[in-house]
């Protein structure tokens, strides 16, 4: 694969296919963690990700179930040696996202 970001590509492709998200933000925070101990000897620049996902698929699911759903989609990337080391998740339904945006607007 010629892509410089194979892991990010895989995240985008798998989550888009399975969850049809209305929002999908992928942040690669790996550079912030490159020097901490578990990263010694790891050459990948795609180890720490933060995802914001809004999807109807999360409807009627508690947070742990939503996270498990995402983890299961990215099982291979998480299990791989030198793969994803940390994965932060914010998982919302479209209603929850709208509510959050309204609250944020109010706070400003």
């Amino acid at each position: 694969m010629a892509s410089p970001t194979p892991v990010e590509d895989a995240i985008k492709q798998k989550i888009t296919a399975a969850l049809q998200p209305t929002t999908l933000e992928i942040y690669n925070d790996s550079h912030l963690h490159a020097h901490h101990k578990p990263m010694q000897g790891v050459t990948s620049t795609e180890t720490h990700f933060r995802l914001v996902i809004t999807s109807e698929a999360f409807q009627k699911k508690m947070q742990p179930a939503r996270h498990r759903l995402v983890y299961s989609l990215l099982k291979d990337e998480l299990a791989q040696e030198g793969g994803i080391h940390a994965l932060q998740l914010r998982t919302m339904t479209p209603e929850e996202e709208a509510k959050r945006r309204a609250q944020e607007a109010e706070a400003e």
Binding site: P64, H67, A86, L87, Q88, R90
Partner: protein
């Protein structure tokens, strides 16, 4: 009880390394299931038990499952983390401990397990909880979530509600006394 060897309570020294009463079964579990961290490729002493563990590497062994069951039930609030409450070895574990501290969880009702001390625990807890990352929070033996869930429940008030319902918060005065000990 064997689990005390890997138990660390908020406000107490890192290890409560009391020698457990010698119970052959627990002893075996402790040595094989929760031994100190070691290179995965070089077990210290290959015992028949370890060899059988290796054979079923992918499956959570009964011994490890029982050991984790015991750990999960060892206190009303249990956190599996990297490092200790005093010196977390990972930002997400640190954030989780801070939230539990801010919430005022009673140290007497809290236990933390350092997965970095034991590779069997580190792998086993992921399968046990069906959750690939550390930290992991249990309240009354029920899986609550990882760092992101802990933080968001902290922010939206759900965590305070849960901890109050479960009666695991320190009383005001007690909280101060514990706070002194903690430092």
């Amino acid at each position: 009880m064997f689990s005390r060897t890997i138990l660390s309570r908020v406000g107490m020294s890192t290890f409560l390394a009391t020698g457990p009463k010698t119970n052959p079964v627990l002893q075996a579990v402790r040595q094989t299931a929760f031994s100190s961290i070691r290179p995965a490729t070089a077990p210290i002493k290959p015992s028949p038990f370890l060899l059988s563990l290796a054979a079923q590497r992918r499956l959570l062994s009964d011994a490890v499952r029982q050991a984790i069951d015991k750990a999960v039930g060892s206190a009303p609030v249990v956190l599996f983390m990297k490092g200790t409450p005093e010196t977390p070895q990972c930002g997400f574990s640190r954030a989780s401990i801070q939230v539990l501290g801010l919430q005022g969880v009673d140290p007497e009702k809290f236990a933390a397990y350092n997965v970095l001390e034991d590779s069997e625990l580190r792998q086993g807890i992921k399968e046990y909880s069906d959750w690939p990352t550390i930290p992991q929070l249990y309240v009354d033996k029920e899986f609550i979530g990882g760092c992101d869930i802990i933080v968001s429940m902290h922010q939206n008030g759900e965590l305070a509600k849960l901890l109050e319902e479960k009666k695991v918060l320190a009383a005001e005065a007690e909280g101060q006394a514990e706070g002194e000990k903690k430092e």
